[in-house]
C-alpha cells in the first residue's frame, strides 16, 4: 500500500531529457511553471500541451506512468474546479438549488485544472528523469551564488540527498515494523478514528528510534571518512552545459515568447 507512492521517483534512462544538465532542467522547469501562469487564453495551452507531450515522448517515460502520479491529487483538482465554478461571480448559466454555476466560474475552473495538471506533469518529468543525486547537485550549484549572503548551499543539498536516500529505507522499515506488530495481534484497519490513531503508536515509536539510530550511525560514518562540510570539497562529476542543453533552452524560450504573445489573442 505504501509502495504506490510515485512522487519524487526516478526512472533510470538514457534519453535526451535524462542527459540534460540538472541545473538547466531545474531552471527550465521553473520557467515552465511561470509560463503556465503567464498564459491566460486557451489557445496558449495548445502550445504548452504540444511542448509537454514532445518532452514526454523524447524522455521515453510511459505516459500511463505519469498519469498514475496524478491520481493522488485527483481530489485536489476536482475540489479546486468545483470551488472556482461556484464561487466566482458572473452570469449564472446553471443552477442546482442554492448553488450558482457562472460562466466566468467555469472559465476559471478549466484554467485551474489545466494549470494544476500541467504543473504536476511538468515537475514529475523533472524528478522522473533526474536522479536524486544529480538533482541535489544541481540545486547546490544553483544556490552557490547565495552563499555570500549566508545560505548554506552545500549543507542544504546534502540534507536533501540524505533525506531522499532514506525514503525507501524508511518505507521498508515501516513495512517490517507493521508486520511485526500485526504478528502480535495489532490491528490497524478497524475501529474508530481515535483507536486507529492509537494503533499507530506501536509503529511510530520504533520507527523514530531507528531513525535516530540511523542518523547517528550515518553521522559517525561520514565523520570517519573525514566529511567536513562543503568548503574545499571537490567533486567526482563536473557539471557541464553542452549542445543539447542549448537546444532545450531555445525551445523553452520559444514557448515563453509564444505564451506572452498568446495573451493578446482573443480566445
Amino acid at each position: 500500500m505504501i509502495k504506490d507512492i510515485t512522487i519524487g521517483q526516478y526512472l533510470p534512462g538514457n534519453s535526451f531529457v535524462h542527459k540534460l544538465d540538472p541545473r538547466v532542467k531545474i531552471w527550465l522547469s521553473f520557467i515552465y511553471i511561470i509560463i503556465l501562469f503567464i498564459v491566460n487564453k486557451y489557445s496558449g495551452y495548445i502550445f504548452i500541451a504540444a511542448f509537454t507531450l514532445i518532452t514526454i515522448l523524447v524522455s521515453k517515460i510511459p505516459i500511463k506512468y505519469l498519469f498514475k502520479g496524478l491520481k493522488p491529487i485527483l481530489w485536489i483538482i476536482i475540489f479546486t474546479a468545483v470551488l472556482n465554478a461556484i464561487l466566482t461571480p458572473g452570469i449564472t448559466i446553471y443552477k442546482i438549488g442554492p448553488v450558482n454555476i457562472t460562466d466566468k466560474g467555469v472559465y476559471l475552473a478549466v484554467f485551474m485544472v489545466l494549470r494544476l495538471i500541467f504543473l504536476i506533469v511538468g515537475t514529475s518529468i523533472l524528478t522522473l528523469t533526474t536522479s536524486p543525486i544529480a538533482l541535489t547537485d544541481g540545486i547546490e550549484r544553483l544556490l552557490n551564488p547565495f552563499k555570500r549572503i549566508g545560505v548554506p548551499a552545500h549543507e542544504l543539498a546534502m540534507m536533501m540527498t540524505i533525506a531522499l536516500r532514506f525514503i525507501p529505507t524508511l518505507l521498508d522499515e515501516t513495512d517490517k515494523i507493521m508486520k511485526a506488530q500485526m504478528a502480535r495481534g495489532a490491528d490497524f484497519e478497524t475501529g474508530n478514528i481515535i483507536n486507529r490513531a492509537k494503533s499507530l503508536i506501536p509503529i511510530l515509536v520504533p520507527l523514530f528510534i531507528s531513525s535516530f539510530r540511523r542518523a547517528d550511525e550515518l553521522a559517525l560514518a561520514m565523520e570517519a571518512r573525514c566529511y567536513r562540510g562543503g568548503k574545499g570539497r571537490s567533486r567526482l562529476k563536473q557539471l557541464k552545459i553542452e549542445g543539447r542543453d542549448y537546444v532545450a533552452i531555445t525551445f523553452t524560450i520559444l514557448l515563453m515568447i509564444i505564451s506572452i504573445v498568446s495573451r493578446r489573442w482573443s480566445i
Binding site: 517490517k176 515494523i177 508486520k179 511485526a180 506488530q181 500485526m182 504478528a183 502480535r184 495481534g185 495489532a186 490491528d187 503508536i201 506501536p202 515509536v205 520504533p206 528510534i209 531507528s210
Partner: protein, 287 residues
C-alpha cells in the same frame, strides 16, 4: 499443531518489470511438536515462506493448512491464526515501543482480549522462559537493557501469546557467542517443556545441527533438501554448491577419513566427534 503446504508460489511486484518469484512451488509437511530448522542463503525465500504461515503475506497460488484449516481462504480469521502461529521477526528488539517491559510483553495478549489476571500470568511465564527476572525488570524501560536482553523481551512478547507454532527468524543474528548459546538453549528448553511446533530459521549450520529434528533447505525459492540433520549434512556437495557449509566437525571427519582413519562418517556435533575420536584412540591403545 501441524502445518501442510501445497504447491505454494509467491511472486513479488506482479505485473511490473521488477516481478520476482520468491517461492517456487514448495510443498512440505510439518508434524505437530516437530522442531524444524529452515536453512538457506540470503534471498532463498525463507523469510517470505514464514510470513505466509501466519497470513502476513498471501500466496500467489497454492494452499497452506494449519491444523487442517486452510488459512489461504478469504474468510479466515487472521487474528486467530496469528495467535496460533507466533512469528518472531529478525532483530525483533527493534519493534519494542512501550515504556515498561511489562507493558511491551503484554501488548500481544492484550490484543487477544484476555483478562488482566491472565495477561499477568502469561507475561510472568514468558519472561521466565527467556530468563528475565519478572519482579526486577517488569517496570524498567526496555530501552535501558542490553541488545541481547532486549531481544529476549521481544521474544517473550510473542511467547506471551502462547502460540502452538513458534517461528523464529534468525533469532541469534548479531549476538555474541554467549548470547547466541543462551537464546538457543532457551528455545530448546521451551520446545522440550511445552512440546510445541518450532521452526527455527537460520543460515548457521552449527546452530541448528544440535537442536532440530528435521532440516528443510531452501534454495532460490525451492525446497531442495529435507531430512534429519545427519541425512542433510551427508550431502556436502549439494550444500556447498548452493553456498551453505556443513558444521566444521563434519569437514574434520571427512579429512580424517581421507587419511585412512576409520572414523564414523555421520558425525555432526563436536560432542559426537569427541566421543568417537576418544573411542578410536582407546581401541588403538588396547590393540
Amino acid at each position: 499443531m501441524s502445518i501442510k503446504i501445497e504447491n505454494l508460489v509467491y511472486k513479488y511486484m506482479i505485473g511490473t518489470p521488477f516481478e520476482k518469484t520468491a517461492i517456487d512451488d514448495v510443498s512440505l509437511e510439518i508434524k505437530d511438536g516437530e522442531f524444524i530448522g529452515l536453512i538457506g542463503h540470503t534471498g532463498s525465500g525463507k523469510s517470505t515462506l514464514i510470513q505466509q504461515l501466519n497470513g502476513l503475506l498471501k500466496p500467489t497460488s497454492g494452499k497452506i493448512y494449519i491444523d487442517g484449516e486452510d488459512i489461504t481462504s478469504k474468510d479466515i480469521n487472521l487474528k486467530k491464526i496469528r495467535q496460533k502461529v507466533g512469528l518472531v521477526f529478525q532483530y525483533p528488539e527493534y519493534q519494542l515501543f512501550e515504556e515498561t517491559i511489562f507493558k511491551d510483553v503484554a501488548f500481544g495478549p492484550q490484543n487477544l482480549g484476555l483478562s488482566d489476571d491472565e495477561i499477568l500470568k502469561r507475561v510472568r511465564r514468558a519472561l521466565e522462559i527467556v530468563g528475565i527476572d519478572f519482579e526486577k525488570y517488569k517496570d524498567k524501560s526496555p530501552f535501558d537493557l542490553s541488545g541481547g536482553q532486549r531481544r529476549r523481551i521481544a521474544i517473550a512478547g510473542i511467547l506471551a501469546m502462547e502460540p502452538k507454532i513458534l517461528i523464529l527468524d534468525e533469532p541469534t543474528a548479531g549476538l555474541d557467542p554467549k548470547g547466541r548459546d543462551e537464546i538457543l538453549e532457551e528455545i530448546r528448553k521451551l520446545h522440550k517443556e511445552y512440546n510445541n511446533t518450532v521452526i527455527l530459521v537460520s543460515h548457521s549450520m552449527e546452530d541448528v545441527a544440535k537442536l532440530v529434528d528435521r532440516l528443510i533447505v531452501m534454495y532460490k525459492g525451492k525446497n531442495i533438501l529435507t531430512g534429519t540433520p545427519r541425512e542433510v549434512f551427508m550431502e556436502i556437495e549439494t550444500l556447498e554448491k548452493i553456498g551453505l557449509a556443513v558444521p566444521q566437525v563434519t569437514y574434520l571427519v571427512r579429512e580424517l577419513r581421507k587419511r585412512g582413519i576409520n572414523i564414523r562418517e555421520d558425525i555432526i556435533t563436536v560432542k559426537e566427534a569427541q566421543d568417537e575420536i576418544l573411542r578410536l584412540l582407546r581401541r588403538d591403545k588396547n590393540d
